[in-house]
């Protein structure tokens, strides 16, 4: 029976209209660019990036951090959908989990490409290597990310597999796993925040509200991606996603956006009012240090985008306007990408611990590798959605499938 599911899935993935094929073709091109760039980086070493001893984490780690937030935000849809058995959102919660899977895969890839010795990745795995538990936060991060990925893959795989045979999922498996995935989602982002937060050498990161800020901003950017996706899917696949579901998510986002801005304000007050030597890093981000102002336009652009998005989501009349809502989603996504990507990593390391200012800008190789990883993430998501939508809507199931694929004896075996 697994064979017919796999064969049918392969067929679904391989077929599609022109737009689908162009989209997949574009993603494959991005992946090819990424592979080319990464093979260059493997040969040259990380010298192919613009990272140096002064700024030893940069674009890859920034993207990693941002995407952990996207993955964690899937929980926002999972909580009401499963725990409260709440109608309108339930049918789309599975999309959140698919997004989480894709985002985690991208996270793990960003960590891998940032490693000087990717061939030694097993050293961090329990049993196989020697993870430095319990003191190393990075060891914990690798653990929770992999467990979160496994949990989501299990839940989604099980629901789709059962759905394919027209059966309800096994509540004894799904409910405990989903309940478990809620603290997991919070933990992946908290642990990622602690990775920075725990470093006393970097005053910019060494702030107690870093983890709360991570969670708040994740609950802005993650749902922003989903809201746009819901509309695309509704239009292209006829998946019954109600306006009610979209508006509920949008309303929740207004609260988290407020919290996100409030926490940023609290951080800025502390830095600027106390104005210690540690203010330097915050200054580098918002106003630059001397001639070094590379991040300043991004800092203000990101803040402006975040504030405008907040008001769009806050005013009910505005967020009900789908065009405005989509603009708001784009703005908050951009705002959080700046804040939790480069806006987090770069000022943390500039100036470095001995006061040197090295202004980092990604190289073409870094852009290429990054494009490739986003290509892989989008492709994984596209294929998963392509598979999940017909199963969820009942158009793809053992009953509908070509009899050649589902041999009668297999169906019989399933019936028994």
């Amino acid at each position: 029976m697994a064979i017919s599911f796999l064969r049918g899935s392969a067929r679904i993935i391989a077929s599609g209209d022109r737009a689908y094929k162009i989209w997949v073709g574009a993603l494959l091109t991005l992946i090819a660019v990424g592979l080319f760039a990464y093979s260059f980086q493997l040969r040259q070493g990380l010298i192919a990036t613009n990272m140096r001893d002064q700024v030893s984490w940069a674009f890859y780690v920034g993207n990693f951090t941002f995407l952990v937030g996207i993955a964690a935000a899937a929980v926002m849809l999972v909580i009401p959908a499963y725990v409260y058995d709440w109608g309108p959102i339930k049918e789309v919660a599975i999309l959140g989990e698919l997004l989480a899977i894709s985002a985690i895969i991208m996270c793990l890839l960003f960590v891998l490409v940032d490693m000087g010795r990717p061939d030694r990745f097993l050293h961090i795995m329990p049993m196989l290597g020697s993870p430095n538990f319990p003191v190393s936060i990075m060891a914990w991060d690798a653990l929770v990310l992999n467990v979160y990925l496994a949990v989501n893959l299990t839940v989604v795989g099980h629901i789709l597999f059962k759905g394919f045979y027209g059966k309800d999922y096994n509540k004894k498996i799904v409910i405990p796993l989903v309940l478990f995935s809620i603290p997991m989602a919070v933990s992946i982002h908290t642990v990622t925040a602690f990775l920075y937060n725990g470093m006393s050498s970097r005053p910019y990161w060494n702030s107690a509200i870093l983890a709360p800020r991570f969670i708040a901003s994740a609950f802005c950017s993650g749902p922003a991606v989903l809201l746009v996706l819901f509309q695309v899917l509704r239009k292209r696949t006829g998946l019954p996603i109600k306006d009610e579901a979209i508006q509920k998510v949008a309303e929740l986002m207004a609260y988290t956006m407020f919290l996100n801005l409030f926490l940023l304000g609290a951080e800025l007050f502390k830095e600027y009012y106390s104005a210690t030597e540690h203010l330097l890093y915050t200054q580098y981000f918002w106003s630059g240090i001397g001639p070094h102002k590379a991040l300043v336009p991004y800092a203000w652009g990101g803040l402006l985008a975040t504030i405008i998005a907040f008001f769009i989501f806050l005013v009910p009349k505005w967020r009900r306007n789908m065009t405005l809502l989509n603009i708001g989603c784009g703005l908050i996504y951009f705002g959080v990408y700046i804040e939790k990507g480069m806006g987090l990593v770069m000022p943390g390391m500039t100036p470095d611990t001995l006061g040197e200012i090295y202004e980092y800008r990604p190289t073409f190789v870094e852009w290429g590798v990054t494009a490739g990883i986003y290509g892989i993430g989008f492709l994984v998501f596209t294929l998963l959605v392509k598979l999940a939508v017909p199963i969820m809507s009942g158009h793809f199931s053992a009953a509908h499938i070509d009899p050649v694929i589902t041999a009668p004896d297999e169906l019989e075996a399933e019936a028994h």
Partner: protein
């Protein structure tokens, strides 16, 4: 280079009886996949190895012999790799007299030569000399490391060399996800270059900028290679791993001074056994007033600064 020879020296590590057979099979299976996946020339022998601290003395000996052969062939000279451990009753301490230092950077280059750092593109230096204003005192965030050493000492300026402070509570060791770096009994913080995954957490965690990454394949001309090496110190490093000052472990564990102490033309650098009241460093600590860098971070360095004159 030759896969046959490299597997020779790994006979002890890869084929080590201490690894349980089930785990080895899994590793082998995964190793093949990983090799294909990364496409890099990652040697399987290194892949099967255990972390340094798990190895038996016999395993270490076998490995060291293998490295000696490999390096001797590569650099065309008799290279020795010492595995000398810490000496009982010794904890190393370092003193730096700020009133003497003139900022000539001779220590920087002596260190590069002694410890087989990459010579160019980029050159890796374990010591950074900060130039600061006499008018402001120690103000690391506004220091300059790119001053012209031909003009020192410049008026109104003073100099502060910074290298690994060999902390008693090292944040770098705490953060390493794979335990590839640790503090030895004699106080030296070391790295297992064959276990480091190159994630650079330790570089983010170090408050002293003491850790340096091999961004490219290190360039070490054969004629400049120092053949007297230590397993945890100045033996040649591969690209993609972190390295740092080890108080010249290959010298100090044999009773010699670190290269930077020896080269210093003004005698600003003191070194010795913190547990020996007669040692140079203890004399400085007892008779002068010393301070440590970034004491608020509670890293408890074994590296002390003082003003002797």
């Amino acid at each position: 280079m030759n896969p046959m020879t490299t597997s020779n020296n790994s006979g002890g590590c890869g084929g080590s009886e201490a690894v349980d057979p089930g785990r080895r099979d899994v590793l082998k299976f995964l190793a093949v996949g990983a090799t294909m996946a990364t496409g890099a020339a990652c040697d399987l022998e290194g892949f099967f190895r255990k972390s340094f601290r798990e190895l038996s003395p016999a395993d270490v000996r076998r490995m060291v012999t293998g490295w000696e052969r490999k390096y001797s062939r590569k650099y065309g000279k008799a290279v020795t790799v010492s595995e000398a451990g810490p000496i009982d009753g010794v904890k190393f301490g370092y003193g730096l007299d700020l009133s003497r230092c003139v900022g000539c950077r001779r220590c920087v280059y002596a260190c590069v030569e002694e410890n087989n750092q990459s010579r160019k593109e980029p050159q890796i230096q374990w010591i950074r000399v900060l130039e600061m204003d006499k008018a402001h005192g120690i103000d690391i965030n506004h220091s300059d490391i790119y001053y012209d050493a031909a003009e020192v000492p410049r008026p109104g300026k003073f100099y502060m060399p910074v290298q690994c402070q060999q902390c008693d509570d090292p944040p770098c060791v705490k953060t390493c996800p794979v335990g590839a770096t640790w503090k030895e009994k004699d106080g030296i913080v070391v790295i297992d270059y064959d276990w480091c995954i190159g994630c650079r957490c330790c570089m983010s965690a170090c408050p002293y900028g003491a850790r340096h990454f091999n961004w490219a394949e290190p360039s070490l001309p054969a004629q400049e290679m120092n053949p007297k090496t230590h397993v945890l110190g100045n033996r040649p490093r591969p690209k993609g791993v972190v390295e740092k000052c080890t108080f010249c472990i290959q010298r100090t564990r044999e009773g010699q001074y670190p290269a930077c102490v020896e080269i210093c033309p003004v005698g600003a650098r003191k070194f010795g056994n913190l547990l020996d009241p007669e040692s140079e460093i203890r004399q400085a600590m007892d008779n002068k007033r010393v301070f440590i860098l970034k004491e608020e971070l509670a890293t408890h360095p074994s590296f002390f600064y003082f003003y002797a004159t």
